[in-house]
Amino acid sequence: MKRRWWVPYAFLALPLTMYVIWVIIPIFQTFVFSFTDWDGVSPTYHFIGFENYKEIFSDPYFMLSLKNNIKWLLAFVLLSVPAGLGVAILLDQKFPGGKVYKTMMYLPMTLSFVVIGQIWSWILEPKYGALNTFLRTIGLSNLAKPWLSDPGVVTYALIAAASWRQIAYAMVLFLAGLKNVPRDLVEAAYVDGANSWQRFWYVILPLLRPAMVIAITVSVIDSLRAFDIVYVLTRGGPFYSSSVLANYMYIQSFHNYRMGFGASIAVVQFLITFGFILLYLLNVFKREEKF
């Protein structure tokens, strides 16, 4: 039977057109805008070469945002991922009520960051907020802080709120990974006299490698994407102390009408993420070879 070469293209026509209009072309346009002084309103703009990029690297608020992003990244990878793993291991056994427990642990994952932000805004509120009230009640009033307006702690407060969701996400990935760990293998190790730590370290953890790679990749990408919760809770304030790149880019572009400058921030962030995207793509397409 004669194969008609255009058939797959006919199926691809609609999806690819939409994707090119709303995703692919914009990526290139952002590169172009990053070399202009466009203000987002005027019909015209001028090319100003690398001026925006020069400005970025002498901009203290950009550097501050970058530093905060690194804090997010480290916290997500070094705290949320292990915490998610710990909870997954704890709950990965059959016990009455186990399903309900797991469901409750999952719940934060289904919420939007706006809801999470609202809930945490009155946990962290200085005067009547849940955290400070609790600290004062148990006699630790010296630890009570204005969590969202103290530049020294605000980023950590935001990370804590976001981790509520991130840990649940990591847990889902690890619980799925644990399904692929054969029970008999763990039991065999038990019979051979391995204690629970050894069983975890030498048997379970190596088998969780694929889940671990995914959990870390997802956490890195999510930490660099952080926006909603920062914008809802602090707008990056006070004085940019809790700003992250996504937030700074948004504020510059849509509050200060400096879209050219905003575009150059986006490009820098893209370049930072690019390594991870490449890593992910290589991972995916290495597997493809097997088909």
């Binding site: 070469w5 058939v7 797959p8 199926f11 691809l12 999806p15 690819l16 939409m18 209009i21 709303w22 995703v23 914009p26 990526i27 346009q29 952002t30 805008f33 987002g40 909870v87 704890l90 427990y101 409750m104 642990m105 999952y106 719940l107 934060p108 289904t110 919420l111 939007s112 706006v114 609202q118 809930i119 805004s121 009155w122 946990i123 009547y128 009640t137 509520w164 889902v172 799925a176 990974g177 694929p210 997802v218 990408i221 660099l224 994407r225 926006f227 909603d228 914008y231 809802v232 996504a246 948004y250 849509f254 879209m259 905003g262 986006a266 962030q269 893209f270 993420t273 793509l281 995916v284």
Partner: protein, 277 residues
């Protein structure tokens, strides 16, 4: 035996404490939503149940704070976006999983690469495109964007699922003289229903919870979705924590309900999309 019981008890105590701590923010929100502002401002402590359960707060949030309208808008935006994304990406997934042609891998790479790009790279041009085409501040503008944006992930997801369908089925249908579109509609689509369900649940939650794109593409109050409406309450209702708490719980109800009912699909979708080996 005794040791086992000990271990079991310790495990139960530990996991129960964990789960209760984990759920605390929900309890705090729930209790707050049912108190009067006077009761909150006494500062007696959030762990006390409300003295008088003020269910009226929910009515205030629903009617006066306009959550009613935002809810409707969220449905108007989310439902067509999810259905559209599923349909559009089922076409591309079909093409990329069943046909061998030279541009197959490069096109797949474009879909997958695009889904990982930081959203900031799209923000300014998409905003500009919307303004220039008159799609800015319309339902259609947001819906079309969601469909296009989610096509990357959905294509990748559905394609991986379609690859697990035996090739022989496809060949047999071809020999029987079925046209390409017929094979897509009558053979492949019915077989991918479970994947569509998992993906649909996931996409529903994501699009329902979207904040950023509505922030960029919508201006008028009358078409704002729940997330945007809720964030705006901070301004007008800033001193009414109880109302904001009630509104937050209302906004959370839909995704939580969807999750509880379709939990299996949700988890499956999330893990299929990522851990798939």
């Amino acid at each position: 035996m005794k040791r086992r019981i000990m271990k079991g008890t310790i495990f139960y105590v530990l996991s129960t404490i964990l789960v209760i701590t984990w759920m605390l923010p929900f309890f705090i929100a729930f209790f707050t939503s049912l108190k009067s502002m006077d009761e909150i401002m006494i500062g007696k402590g959030w762990w006390y149940p409300p003295k008088a359960w003020k269910w009226d707060n929910y009515k205030t949030a629903w009617v006066d704070a306009n959550m009613k309208r935002y809810f409707l808008n969220s449905f108007i935006i989310t439902v067509p976006s999810v259905l559209g994304a599923l349909f559009v990406s089922s076409l591309s997934a079909f093409a990329l999983s069943w046909y061998e042609f030279r541009l197959n891998k490069p096109i797949l790479m474009i879909f997958v690469g695009g889904m990982l790009i930081p959203f900031q790279m799209l923000l300014i041009p998409v905003y500009r495109f919307s303004v220039n085409t008159g799609l800015y501040d319309t339902y259609l503008g947001v819906i079309l964007f969601h469909i296009a944006f989610q096509t990357g992930f959905c294509t990748f997801f559905l394609r991986n699922f379609m690859l697990t369908i035996p090739k022989s089925l496809f060949e047999a249908a071809k020999i029987d003289g079925a046209g390409d579109f017929m094979i897509y509609r009558k053979i492949i689509m019915p077989l991918v229903v479970p994947a569509l369900a998992a993906l649909g649940i996931l996409e529903f939650t994501w699009i329902w919870n979207d904040y950023l794109w509505s922030l960029v593409l919508i201006q008028s109050d009358r078409i704002k979705p729940v997330t945007l409406g809720l964030a705006n309450l901070q301004g007008q209702w800033i001193t009414s924590w109880n109302i904001i708490a009630a509104a937050s719980i209302l906004a959370a109800l839909v995704p939580i309900f969807v999750f509880l009912v379709f939990q299996r699909y949700f988890i499956e979708g999330l893990t299929m999309g990522s851990v798939k080996e």
